[in-house]
Structure formats: structure tokens, C-alpha cells
């Protein structure tokens, strides 16, 4: 659907390095993807695969010792990496906002929540009066299903449960009707019954506003239920991407297959779980060629020599694996 108009967000060949005590960490290498208008994309992978830093890079929030060393991030055609600070600030929060994993940490502990939501509005729209902003904030709290918003607006974050705090975060982030919402593990700190509520809420609100979503999660099931497309990352690279159905029903990268097989609810309790042998490689000296090759059951000599490009395996479904390239892995 995004073939005619340019994508909302285009990340191209993004590279991030961290300079640490033990050397240079190759945190992200050659990461490219696009998000179309109104589309929701899941970014999945294990700890350290680079999914969170990718999200932070989009908002230019990579802190030292990390640095974006190459690549391009274009939002509505504007290059974000070279944008001046002031212009970047107007994009942050207004056009792209971000929901964090720990809502209680992300909220200001000494400000009433109604004020906090209003504050977000005031930052981006100076024509609003305080009174108008507070009224809008209360409406927004109501639309994230916070009971009795007028009274709740007077509360402080510590008086809220985790689920309520996450609703407030969502209200804050969506009150400016951003074009893109980045949600970094928005429900990982919540219980499953609350998680279900929050996911419903996000899905409904986003459909209403028409934002695109970049949902970062380690939980494939959450992404499966809420996203249109999914991007699987491993050790700082994108290994597979495509529609949720294509990737989950016909995983084409051995890593994705391995990841799906390790889920306990996918197998019979009497059989041992399949696991991916070995450990995630150190990104101080990532393996030459495919970064998954040392753990891959199907790796051939070519995998340890060359870095695979993204090969097409079906409609919009690509996998960075030589199994799908001409000449194979040999």
C-alpha cells in the first residue's frame, strides 16, 4: 500500500557504535526498514539485538558512548540525522512520540498527571491557554479509559498502578496526535490481564488517530496480535522482515525458526524444548559474514565469508540468509 507515496519513515543502512572499556561495540550494522503511513510494525529480538537503540536513534536519543556512525533516517522526507536541534525537538513528541517500558520511571513523580499531559500539549502548541490544555488533557485521560478523569488528573504518578500509569503515558504520547508512535516494550512490566487491556487500548486509539506504530518487543505473541508487519533482529542486524503471517507461518531465516521453536507453548511438555545452541556473539568482534552463522545449523562456508543481503522470499517478505540467494550457502 505504500508503493505510491513515500514511506512515513525510512531507515537506511543505520550503523551505531559504542566506545567502551573493552573496545568498540558494533551495536547496529546496516539496519534498513520502512514504515508506511498507518502501518504498525513490530521489532522483535533478544536482549542486545539492537531493537531499543534503533528506536532511540529515530528520536536521535543515542547517548554517549554510543554514536550513530553511518546511515540515514528520513521522516516524511526529512533527514533526521542532520536536522538542527530545534527542528528535532518539534518532531520529538509532536510528530514522533515514544512510550517506554517503565511508565512509572518515565513520568515526573512530583507533577500531577493532568498537568503532565497538559504540559505536553503546551510545549507543542503555544496558542493554547493553560485552561484549554488542562481540559484537553482531561479528555485525553478519559479516552484512555481512566475512570473519573477529572479526579484522576489531580493524582501523582506514585498513586497509580502500573497499568494506570501506562495509560497516562499513552495519553501523554498520543495527545499531540503523532504520525509515528514508538512503543518500547509497552506491556513487558505489566501483568497479562492488564497487558491485554493496554494492547486493546493502543490498537483502538491508534486506529482512531491514524498513527503508524513501531512496537518493540521481545514477545513474539504480542507483536503477532497487534502488528501488520514484523522485523526480526539479531546481533545488531535485521535478519528477516515481512507480514506477521508470512514471518510467523513460514519463517525463512534459521534464527527466526529457532526463536519460534524455543517457545514453550509451541511444544509438547514431554519433549525437550529446542534451543539455539551457543550464545549471542560479542559485538566487540562480531563474526565475519552472517552474524548468526556460528550458531546456525544450516550455515555453509559462504555464510562465514560474506555478509548476506536481504533476499526476497515472497511478497514483501525478505530474509538475510544465503539459503535464499543464488548459489546458496556453499
Amino acid at each position: 500500500m505504500a508503493t505510491a507515496s513515500p514511506p512515513l519513515l525510512a531507515v537506511e543502512d543505520l550503523q551505531i557504535r559504542f566506545h567502551t572499556l573493552r573496545g568498540v561495540v558494533h551495536a547496529l550494522d546496516g539496519v534498513s526498514f520502512e514504515i508506511a503511513r498507518g502501518e504498525s510494525i513490530g521489532l522483535v529480538g533478544e536482549t542486545g539485538c539492537g531493537k531499543s537503540i534503533t528506536a532511540r536513534a529515530i528520536l536521535r536519543l543515542v547517548d554517549p558512548p554510543g554514536r550513530i556512525t553511518a546511515g540515514s533516517i528520513r521522516f516524511e522526507g526529512t533527514e533526521l540525522l542532520t536536522l538542527d536541534r530545534r527542528a528535532m525537538r518539534t518532531i520529538r513528541g509532536q510528530k514522533i512520540s515514544m512510550i517506554m517500558q517503565e511508565p512509572k520511571v518515565s513520568l515526573n513523580p512530583v507533577m500531577r498527571i493532568g498537568r503532565q499531559v497538559a504540559e505536553t500539549l503546551l510545549i507543542h502548541d503555544r496558542s493554547l491557554s493553560h485552561r484549554q490544555a488542562e481540559a484537553k488533557a482531561r479528555d485525553m485521560l478519559g479516552s484512555v479509559s481512566i475512570p473519573d478523569p477529572a479526579r484522576m488528573a489531580q493524582r501523582y504518578p506514585h498513586e497509580l498502578s502500573g497499568g494506570m500509569a501506562q495509560r497516562v503515558m499513552i495519553a501523554m504520547m498520543l495527545v499531540t496526535r503523532p504520525r509515528l508512535l514508538i512503543a518500547d516494550e509497552p506491556t513487558s512490566a505489566l501483568d497479562v490481564t492488564i497487558q491485554a487491556q493496554i494492547l486493546d487500548l493502543m490498537t483502538d486509539l491508534i486506529a482512531e488517530i491514524g498513527s503508524s506504530v513501531l512496537m518493540i518487543s521481545h514477545d513474539l505473541a504480542v507483536v503477532a496480535e497487534t502488528c501488520d508487519r514484523v522485523i526480526v533482529m539479531y546481533a545488531g542486524t535485521v535478519v528477516e522482515s515481512g507480514t506477521v503471517d508470512a514471518v510467523l507461518d513460514e519463517p525463512s531465516h534459521p534464527y527466526t525458526r529457532g526463536l519460534l521453536n524455543t517457545l514453550p507453548d509451541q511444544v509438547d511438555p514431554d519433549r525437550p524444548l529446542q534451543s539455539i545452541p551457543g550464545n549471542v556473539p560479542s559485538l566487540l568482534a562480531p563474526p565475519v559474514g552472517c552474524r548468526f552463522a556460528p550458531r546456525c545449523p544450516e550455515a555453509g562456508p559462504r555464510c562465514r565469508r560474506e555478509t548476506p543481503a536481504a533476499y526476497d522470499v515472497g511478497a514483501g517478505h525478505v530474509a538475510a540468509c544465503f539459503l535464499h540467494a543464488d548459489g546458496g550457502v556453499a
Binding site: F18, T20, L21, R22, V25
Partner: protein, 304 residues
């Protein structure tokens, strides 16, 4: 001795020795990298190493006898003969500063060695045992903390009588409550941590947990604090010396020297200023070093 099933693995002694050595090198290597990474730490370390070297080599570095009075040469400005000039009794200020470094180190180290362990003991006990013990120990330390350190040290020095030893005791008495507070706060955080709970689950007694598991954790915090405090200790010692409550003349104690020169500050600035500069540099050195030690001892710094 044992009724456990299974057999212990056989250890290759040489291999174990190699591993232990490797672990030590790794740890030293990390410490060195962390140290080197911060130029401020390096500067602090160099100042303190310099101080220690000066103290050790005082007889070689001094150009004159620090006690020798040549009244005909009194209050001379810095010159080739007297590098830092002379004081009101005609003593060579440079040589006195060089010898004074020994006193400075002695005071700082002894105060640290007395007040540190007391603070550690009181703090761990109060924090770990809690309840009435905690109340009593902390109210006691509150009484001490209610007075500025210098005032407290002056009171104790005055009560105990003048002299270097009494001054060291007085400063230590004024110093430990701060450490006890710090260690108590640290202990409170540590005692509820999972890793201490885990040791309780192993069946460890409270004494064992306090001694072997809580104390070592507090140790590094304390070392950082003490090294940051070294500067303050030296300043208090100098203050007491200045007031005549510390080291007594003719000892080449820096505070005392600053005091001696105060009548000549306008015309013979070097008499007070140069020992004052020595105090300033050393205090700065300890502060910089303390900051650096904090970074080096923090295990989180080693993660990456």
C-alpha cells in the same frame, strides 16, 4: 565428614593457580584502564604519589635543617639560597614544607585508620541489627553530627590537651559518625538485596552475613568516602594547628606554618602563602583521587 552424594571434581592445582592469577591480572587490567581513562584521576594520583615521595625522601630534598633558626636571615623572600624564603625565625620554608609532608601523611592516615573502622563497625551493626541498637547508635552519631566537624575537633582537642596525638584522636572522634551514617545507609540497602537473602537461604548466621558479606560491600563505599575526606581531614588538622590546638611549635606542620605567617601576610606573603599552597594542592589531590577511586571500585563500570 560429608554425607553428600556424588563425587567432587578433581582439581588440577597448577591450573587453579593459573586461573587465579589470570583473574587477578584481569581485575588489575580493568582497574588500570579505568584509572587511565580519566585524566583527573591520573592527576590526583600523581599529586599523592608526589606527596609520598617527598615525605619519603625528605632528608634528601630538604636544603636546610627545618628546625634551624638563623635569626639574621628572618623573613627573607624566596631566593636561590632559600627557595621559598624564610619565616619569622629565619627557618627555611621550603625545607619545612618538605618535612611537613610527613606530618600531613601521618595525620591523614592515622585518622583514616582510626575513624574508618569505627564507622564501619557502628554502621554495619546499626544497619543490620536495626531496632533499638540502630536507634541508640544513630542518635549517638546524630549528637556528633549536630556540630560542625571543626568545632567538634576543637572541643575535643581542647579537652584532651594540645599535641599531635590528641589532635589525631580529636579529629577521629569528630569523623567517625559521618562514616557510620554512610555505612548504615549502605547496609540497609544491602541487607534487603537478593544476594544477601540468598545467603540467608543457604543457612548463614547473621554474624557471618555481617562480617563476610555485608562488610566487604560497604568497604568500597567507605574507601571512596575516606579518600574524599582526606582533604577535609588535612584541612581540619591545619585549622587546629593554626589555632594552636594541634601540632606544637616548632613542628613543621603546615597549618601551624600558615598561622605563624599571618602577621606578615601583607609584606612577607610567602610565609603563609606557600604552606597554604601545599595544603591546597594536597587536598585537591586527595579529592581528585577519591573521585577516581569511586569509578574504579564500581563494578558496574566493568560490565561493558
Amino acid at each position: 565428614m560429608t554425607d553428600l552424594p556424588g563425587t567432587p571434581a578433581v582439581l588440577d592445582r597448577a591450573e587453579i593457580r593459573r586461573l587465579r592469577r589470570a583473574a587477578r591480572y584481569r581485575s588489575w587490567g580493568d582497574s588500570y584502564t579505568l584509572w587511565r581513562r580519566n585524566p583527573i584521576t591520573v592527576a590526583g594520583t600523581l599529586i599523592i604519589v608526589f606527596l609520598v615521595l617527598v615525605a619519603a625522601a625528605a632528608p634528601l630534598l630538604a636544603t636546610h635543617d627545618p628546625y634551624n633558626q638563623i635569626l639574621s636571615d628572618r623573613l627573607l623572600p624566596p631566593s636561590a639560597e632559600y627557595w621559598f624564603g624564610t619565616d619569622n625565625l629565619g627557618r627555611d620554608i621550603y625545607s619545612r614544607i618538605v618535612y611537613g609532608s610527613r606530618l600531613t601523611i601521618l595525620i591523614a592516615v592515622l585518622v583514616a585508620l582510626i575513624s574508618g573502622p569505627i564507622g564501619l563497625l557502628v554502621g554495619v551493626l546499626a544497619g543490620y541489627v536495626g531496632g533499638a541498637t540502630d536507634e541508640v547508635l544513630m542518635r549517638l552519631s546524630d549528637i556528633f553530627l549536630a556540630f560542625p566537624k571543626l568545632i567538634l575537633a576543637i572541643a575535643f582537642a581542647a579537652a584532651l590537651g594540645t599535641g599531635l596525638e590528641n589532635m589525631i584522636i580529636a579529629i577521629s572522634v569528630a569523623n567517625w559518625p559521618g562514616y557510620a551514617r554512610l555505612v548504615r545507609a549502605e547496609t540497609l540497602a544491602i541487607r534487603n538485596s537478593d544476594y544477601i537473602q540468598a545467603i540467608r537461604v543457604l543457612g548463614a548466621s547473621h554474624a557471618r552475613i555481617m562480617l563476610r558479606h555485608v562488610t566487604p560491600m560497604c568497604f568500597s563505599t567507605l574507601i571512596v568516602r575516606v579518600s574524599l575526606d582526606m582533604g577535609a581531614i588535612i584541612l581540619i588538622a591545619a585549622g587546629l594547628g593554626f589555632l594552636g590546638l594541634g601540632a606544637q611549635p616548632p613542628a613543621p606542620e603546615w597549618g601551624l606554618m600558615v598561622s605563624d605567617g599571618r602577621n606578615y601576610l601583607v609584606d612577607q606573603w610567602w610565609v603563609s602563602t606557600l604552606p597554604g599552597m601545599a595544603i591546597l594542592i594536597v587536598v585537591l589531590g586527595f579529592n581528585l583521587l577519591g573521585d577516581g577511586i569511586r569509578d574504579i571500585l564500581d563494578p558496574r563500570q566493568r560490565q561493558g
